[in-house]
Amino acid sequence: MAKLMNMPKIGVNMTDGTVTEWYVNEGDEVKFGEMALAAETDKDVQDIPADQTGTVLKIIAQVGDNVECHKPLAIVGTPGENIDSLLAEISGGGAAPAALEAEAAPAAAPAPAAEVVEKSPTGRVPVSPLAKKMAKDMGIDLANVKYSGVRVTKADILAYEEAPQPVVSTPVAATAAPAAGIRNTVPYTGVRRVIGSRMTESVVTKPWAALTVAVDMTKAIEWRNRVNELADIKVGFNEMFAKACSRALQEFPMMNSQLAADGTEIYEMEDINIGIAVNTDRGLMVPVLKNVAAKGVVELAKDFSGLVNRTKDQENIQGDLSGATFTISNLGSRGIASFRAVINPPECGILAVGATVKTPVVIDDEIVIRPMMNITLSFDHRIVDGDYAAQFVAYIGKLLEDPMKILM
C-alpha cells in the first residue's frame, strides 16, 4: 500500500526544510534510511533519508518548496498503485504545494473516500465476525490490516490480501521464478511474509552486534527443582530466564528502550514485557509476558502456559502477541550450543539461549563437570554500546549462576 514519505526531523531544532535537490526521480526505488534528497534546514544543506521503502510514485515537494517536519515529500509504494486517496488526503490537509491542489470547483471539492484509519498498537482491533474468521483462516494478523470505516470488514481483509505487503525490497532485480527445478511452490503470504518483512526490517535497519556468556546452571537447576516442589504448576526455565532478564533490565534500563521510528528520540520503556519465541503450526510467534518485574516465577508460569495455549490454538486475545520490550529465544531443547538471534523490532535486544550441556570446567584449579549453558545477547548498537551490553548480559549470567540474587 502506498505511503507518504515525510520530511524527517533529523535535528533537535529542525522544524522544516527547503528542498534543494532530489537524488531520486519518480519511478526510482528508495530505501528506508537511504539518502533521497537534500534540503536546507536550520543547520545547513543536509542529506535527508527516506523514511519509507518502495518506489517513488509521486514527488510532492519540488525543489525550492519548504516542507515542515512530518509533512509529505513524496508518495512511495508499488508501481501502478492508485494514490488518489493519498493525494486527496494531502490536499485535504492543506499542506500540499500548489501543484497538487485539485481542480475542484470551490463549491464542490471532491469528498474524501472513507478515511483510512490506523489503529493504535495497543488498542483492540474492531473486526466483523466474518473478517475475523477470514483473518484466522488466512493467517493474517489483524493488527496489520488497515480499515476504512469503524472496523475491519471482509473488504479490508481482501484488500490486505491483494495489496503487496510492506517488504524491504532486496537488491536482486530478478524476481521471476527460475525456469526449472522447482519441486513445490508455496505462497509467500500471511504469517510467513509478516515474519519475513520484520526480520528483514530488523537486519536492514539495526546495526547489531552479539555477545556470548557461558553460564554454570548448577544452582539454577537446583532452584527450579525446589520451586517445582513448592509450586502447584510446573515452572519452566523460560520463566526463570524471563525473571532474570527482567531483573537485569531494571539495572540496565537502556536495554529496555526503543529508537523512535523517525530516529530522533530513544524511548526508555516503563514496563518490562518479555516476549518468548514459540514455534507454532503457523510459524514463529512471540507471546508476551507482561510486567515481568512485578510477578513471581509461579505467576509467570501460569501466564505463560495460557499464552502458549492461546497462541497454538490461534485464539490470542489482544496484547498476547504485542507490546514486548525484550525477547528471549530458547533453542536449548534442540541441542543448539549457541546462536545469534535476530532482534525483534523495535526492541533493543534479544537473548538467545542454548542447550545446557555437562561440560568439564576449571574451578579452583580443578577440572569439574558442570551443567553449562551459553546465552548470547544481540543488541541494537544505535541505542547502547558494547560495554553496556556486555555488563548487561554478564549480569544475567551472574543472576542465573546464583538465582537468589534475582530476589535481591
Binding site: A114, S128, L130, D137
Partner: protein, 465 residues
C-alpha cells in the same frame, strides 16, 4: 434571504431527509416541492397502501372468525372500501403534517412550486419566478409510474398506482386485471382480493415477484392459487380496448392469444425517473442510457455542485434507499466520509398476504456470482408462534457461502415477516456468519426464531425440524 448552502429539489423520503439532516448539520437549507411533502412514498405509495392492507387484513380475519370460535352472521359483514380508502388518505395527511412540522422545527425553508435550474448554483421557482442561489443542490425528484404505450389512460377504469389509491369502490365480484407482478401490482391484488374482487395478475416473466428468490416466488404462487387469485405468467398484453363499461384485453400467454374482459385495469409495470422540465441540461447534468441521472459513488452528478438521490438515480427505487442516500449526499457535501452502498444488501419488502421480505442475493444470483452456495431453510409450520397465530405459511431461507458460512442473502415469506428483515439486514451489514446468527439467542415464542433455525440449518441442522 434567497441565498442558501443547500437547496433540495423534491420533498419525498430522499429529499426531506436530506433537508432535515443538512439543516441539523448547520447548513442553511431550502426544499422545493411542487405537491405534498412526503413524496410518492407518503402520499401515493408505501404508506397509504399499508393502510389499505391493514383494512384488508381485518376483513380477512373477520371473515374467518368462526375458525376461532367467534360466530358472526356472514350476511351482516359489510366491507366498505370507500371507508378504507378514506382512512388511507387520512393516514397520509397525518404524516404529511408531521413532515411539515419537522421542516419548521429544523428551520428548513420550504418553497412550494417547481424548480427550474438556471445553472449549477441557482434556480427559479415556478410559477412565482423567485430566484434562489445556492452552493449545492440535491436532486430528489423521484419517479412516476411507467405508462405502457397504446393504452388510453383517460379512461377512468384504467389506473396506475396513484389512481388506484383514489379508487373508492371495490366490491364482491369486481373483475380487476393487474399488469405487472412486482411489489405494487401484487400488493393491490392482495388487497382487492380480500375485498372480494376477482383479480387476474399478468406478468411477462416466468414468476410472480420475479426479482425475489425463486422459492419465495413459488410459495407466493401457491398462496395466490389457494386464495383464488388468478395469474398468468410469461404473458404479454397486446391490446386494451373499452367495450361499454368493460375493458377488453387481448393477451398473449406463451404464444397463445386470448381475450379477457374486466371492469378495471391497473398498470404497474415499473417506474420512470422525473427528469423532465427541471432544466438539468442547464447545469450540465447528464443522464444514463436508461434515462436516470448519472451519479458517481458519492452521488455527485456530472455537475460538481449538484448531487442526486432516490428513484431519479435508478439505483434501487425504495424509500429507505433514498433516505440512506440522502445522508450520504449530505456527508459528501460536507466533505465527510461517504458510506459506500452495496445496493444488493438493501432490505426489500412486499406487503402482500403473506408478506415477503428479503435482503442480499437470491440463491440463483449467488450461484451465478460464483459462490459455493449452501442453503438453510426453516418453514413457519415448525415455528411455535406461527402455529399459535394460525399463520403457518411460508419460510425463512438463508443463502450462504460454504467457506465461512458468510450470509449472502436472507429471504422471508410469511405473516408479518417485513418486521423481521431488519434483523437479517443487520446481520449482513455487520458481517455475521451463519454460525454467529445461530448463536444469537432469539426470544421464544417468536417468528424471529425461524431466522436462528435457518442459520442452524446452514451450519448443520435446525433444531425443530
Amino acid at each position: 434571504m434567497n441565498k442558501f448552502d443547500l437547496i433540495v429539489i423534491g420533498g419525498g423520503p430522499g429529499g426531506y431527509v436530506a433537508a432535515i439532516y443538512a439543516a441539523q448539520k448547520g447548513l442553511k437549507t431550502a426544499l422545493v416541492e411542487k405537491a405534498d411533502l412526503g413524496g410518492v412514498c407518503l402520499n401515493w405509495g408505501c404508506i397509504p397502501t399499508k393502510a389499505l392492507a391493514k383494512n384488508a387484513e381485518v376483513l380477512r380475519t373477520v371473515k374467518e372468525a368462526d375458525k376461532y370460535g367467534i360466530t358472526l352472521n356472514t350476511n351482516s359483514i359489510k366491507a366498505d372500501y370507500a371507508a378504507a380508502q378514506k382512512r388511507s388518505r387520512e393516514v397520509s395527511g397525518k404524516l404529511t403534517m408531521g413532515i411539515k412540522s419537522l421542516m419548521k422545527k429544523n428551520k428548513v425553508t420550504v418553497f412550494k412550486g417547481e424548480a427550474n435550474l438556471i445553472n449549477g448554483a441557482s434556480l427559479k421557482i415556478m410559477p412565482t419566478g423567485e430566484i434562489l442561489e445556492t452552493k449545492n443542490m440535491i436532486l430528489a425528484t423521484g419517479s412516476h409510474a411507467f405508462r405502457i404505450p397504446g393504452i388510453d389512460y383517460s379512461n377512468p377504469n384504467i389506473m396506475t398506482s396513484k389512481e388506484a389509491l383514489q379508487l373508492t369502490e371495490v366490491k364482491e365480484g369486481d373483475q380487476i386485471v393487474v399488469i405487472g407482478a412486482g411489489a405494487i401490482g401484487m400488493e393491490f391484488s392482495s388487497i382487492w382480493d380480500s375485498y372480494g374482487a376477482e383479480v387476474t395478475v399478468i406478468e411477462m416473466l416466468p414468476h410472480l415477484l420475479p426479482n425475489e428468490d425463486a422459492d419465495v416466488s413459488k410459495e407466493m404462487e401457491k398462496s395466490f392459487k389457494k386464495r383464488g387469485i388468478k395469474y398468468k405468467l410469461e404473458t404479454k398484453v397486446s391490446s386494451v380496448a373499452a367495450e361499454g363499461s368493460k375493458l377488453k384485453l387481448v393477451i398473449d400467454e406463451k404464444g397463445k392469444t386470448e381475450t379477457i374482459t374486466c371492469d378495471r385495469l391497473l398498470v404497474s409495470a415499473g417506474i420512470r425517473p422525473n427528469v423532465e422540465g427541471i432544466g438539468l441540461e442547464k447545469a450540465g447534468i447528464k443522464l444514463t442510457d436508461r434515462g436516470y441521472v448519472q451519479v458517481d459513488d458519492n452521488l455527485k452528478t456530472t455537475c460538481p455542485s449538484i448531487y442526486a438521490i432516490g428513484d431519479v438515480t435508478g439505483k434501487l427505487a425504495l424509500a429507505h434507499v433514498a433516505s440512506a442516500q440522502a445522508l450520504a449526499a449530505v456527508h459528501a457535501i460536507l466533505k465527510e466520509p461517504v458510506k459506500q452502498f452495496d445496493y444488493a444488501n438493501m432490505p426489500r419488502c412486499t406487503y402482500t398476504y403473506p408478506e415477503v421480505a428479503s435482503v442480499g442475493l437470491t440463491e440463483d444470483q449467488a450461484k451465478n456470482s460464483g459462490y459455493d452456495v449452501k442453503v438453510g431453510t426453516f418453514p413457519m409450520v415448525a415455528n411455535g408462534k406461527s402455529v399459535a397465530m394460525n399463520e403457518t405459511g411460508g419460510f425463512v431461507k438463508i443463502v450462504a457461502d460454504s467457506k465461512y458460512n458468510e450470509i449472502l442473502g436472507v429471504h422471508f415469506i410469511g405473516a408479518h415477516v417485513t418486521e423481521l428483515i431488519s434483523a437479517a439486514a443487520s446481520y449482513i451489514d455487520l458481517e455475521f456468519t451463519a454460525d454467529d446468527i445461530a448463536q444469537v439467542v432469539h426470544p421464544h415464542p417468536s417468528v424471529s426464531e425461524a431466522i436462528m433455525e435457518a442459520a442452524h440449518a446452514v451450519v448443520g441442522h435446525a433444531i425443530h425440524i
